[in-house]
Amino acid sequence: MANIELDTLRKEFGTGGQTVVAVENVDLDIHDGEFLVLVGPSGCGKTTTLRCIAGLEDVTSGTITFGSRDVTDLRARDRDVAMVFQNYALYPHMDVRDNLGFGLKLSTKLTTDEIHRRVEDAAAMLGIEELLGDKPKELSGGQQQRVALGRAIVREPEVFLMDEPLSNLDAKLRAEMRTELQELQHELGVTTVYVTHDQTEAMAMGDRIAVMNDGVLQQVGAPETVYRSPTNEFVANFIGSPSINLFTAEVEGSTLVGPRDFAYDLEDTAPVAGYDRVRVGIRPEDMQMVSEGGTTATVTVAEHMGNENFLYLELDGHEMTARIDSAIRPQAGETVQFTFDEDALYLFDPDTGDALKTKTDDVDTDVATMATE
């Protein structure tokens, strides 16, 4: 077991004299036994980062350390890592038993008997003992997924790497595997780096999540922290579903003036000091419908989910989403009025996107910080 340390990791791809920076000077400390999720939109460099950790890509500069071992220049097979690929990458010509045992056979000094034992233990752990004699193409997607996991587990590596391992499963199975994977990881206590583009998956699974964009690491923290206190507008926008409502507002004294009749009086003007304009962010669940005194918006679509309602609102060309109690059910085309608590308000620098103010409402922040420890 080991922690993983990325020190100013940089990866450039050269294509015909033109270099593309896929990973830009990422510093990241992954704790021993931690489940870290690397999340970001496609092309953000998360997979490249993972492949650098795996040893499948040479790094352009920077170092990668496992525990006290500098593994930057080691080949993948010498790093003691195991990886689960998106399409499972099971060897089609080998049965499940040989798929599981292949790595042990090639890279350990275990005897054949010991390999058999380890393979059977791993199969038992995942409930795939009956499949040991089958070829991959005889297995269902979920079973293939388990074999791919088993192949990683059986190696007992220092580090697990997972590249969108659940994205080929249907929604129900995916939710099931999510829990199972977490339990497994906690049981084994192996440091795990998990890549996904799905922020829900990231929030649900990660001990901590690392958000990347354009090759740059944006923020690392517990899911709760990243959600409540994003470091910038990108993170606030990427994390959370439905997405945060964002628009630009003018700062007039202590009042934020936005589209249509949006006008909000700030009690605490410190965050906006020195700004003419700011970006305003309000999470859909913080939108409160009021009968008067709020901002006027037109309902374009109302989705009744049963336990709650989603309202899609329009304010002079700006679209907003509100997540409200199921008892309140305005119809499409009606106008409503909404407001929100200042505690729940996010403010961002209009040029750099840096956060000026994030949530300060009454959730016990001690709990959130404890989770990161």
Partner: protein, 336 residues
């Protein structure tokens, strides 16, 4: 479950071999991606360079010379005491410029060979492609039973050795052979298959058709199976009969495959060698079946005019390459 042999002693031997191999590979330096690529490529590229690339260039070179004997003249030598190397010329040559190419214009035997080849080509290729297409369509019909058996039988000649099957035809086409027996049996006159200039060419046509029809049928059948069934159904709704469906659906859909078959068959005819050599050897009037490749062979290895033969080869290579390039274009139309 063959691996359920937990206590077999054989495992320990296997394991020690494995461990030994592991230690070996961990000692070896790790090669970079491009080095590995070169290493995998090296054996093939080396043989390719010596036995294909060099001959291609050297044939062209030879075609500008008159061959005067096998070489042996030392071109370059190095002797460092413990290592010596001597590069020897491959042939003794006299430069003649383009005269080998010019000679072709007045070489009546070459003209005869060209004529024979084109004659066989014009008769044989349409005949064979037509028959192959009919067989393919017949076998593709939904009511045909034992399709696999028929396909196997019709494709059987593909595996026949070129020279051996030519011999079979030589023997069948004797004046008193099987074919003439069948002809007289149904009241026709026997045909001088091997002694008449015209019929000896026809013997080659028949032999080549027998050998290659099944081959082309397989390709056409694969093409037919790619024709969407809905097209036939649509044509049927539009009131097309069998012949019209064949004419307006099958043939246009098969066009690329048909073109491919035509071009490869044409190339094949230009390369005809085994059949005329055997039929000639069996007594056909010499000049009536001589093909270009056979003429090249005679020029090079009986008359030992290697320079002229090289020029002939290059002309042939030029023709065949043009045809092949056309074929690649046709075949590659679907994708980039």
């Amino acid at each position: 479950m063959a691996t359920q042999d937990s206590t077999r002693p054989a495992n320990s031997l296997r394991d020690s071999v494995r461990f030994w191999r592991q230690s070996l590979s961990s000692v070896l330096p790790s090669a970079s991606d491009s080095t590995v690529g070169y290493l995998f490529l090296l054996p093939a590229i080396a043989l390719f360079a010596v036995f294909l690339a060099f001959p291609i260039v050297y044939t062209l070179y030879l075609s500008f010379f008159r061959f005067q004997g096998v070489g042996g003249e030392t071109l370059f030598w190095i002797d460092t005491g413990f290592f010596s190397y001597r590069l020897v010329s491959i042939a003794n040559l006299q430069f003649v410029g383009l005269s080998n190419y010019a000679a072709m214009f007045t070489d009546s035997l070459f003209h005869q060979a060209l004529f024979n080849t084109v004659f066989i080509l014009l008769v044989q290729v349409p005949l064979m492609v037509g028959i192959a297409l009919l067989f393919a369509v017949a076998l593709d019909a939904s009511f045909v039973k034992f399709r696999g058996v028929f396909r196997t039988v019709l494709a059987l000649p593909v595996s026949a050795n070129l020279v051996a099957y030519s011999t079979v035809f030589l023997l069948m086409m004797q004046d008193s052979g099987l074919v003439n027996y069948v002809l007289t049996g149904i009241g026709l006159d026997p045909i001088p298959w091997l002694t008449s200039e015209f019929w000896s060419r026809m013997t080659i046509v028949g032999a080549v058709t027998w050998r290659w029809t099944g081959y082309n049928m397989i390709i056409l059948l694969a093409g037919l199976q790619n024709v969407p069934q809905q097209l036939y159904e649509a044509a049927e709704i539009d009131g097309a009969n069998r012949i019209e469906k064949f004419r307006y659906v099958t043939v246009p859909q098969l066009r690329p495959v048909l073109l491919f078959v035509f071009v490869t068959s044409t190339i094949g005819t230009f390369k005809l060698f085994s059949e005329p050599v055997i039929i000639n050897g069996g007594g056909a009037p010499l000049e009536s079946t001589i093909t270009i490749v056979q003429y090249i062979y005679q020029t090079a290895f009986i008359d030992f005019r290697l320079g002229y033969a090289s020029a002939l080869t290059y002309v042939l290579i030029g023709v065949v390459s043009l045809l092949s390039a056309a074929q690649l274009r046709l075949g590659g139309e679907g994708d980039a």
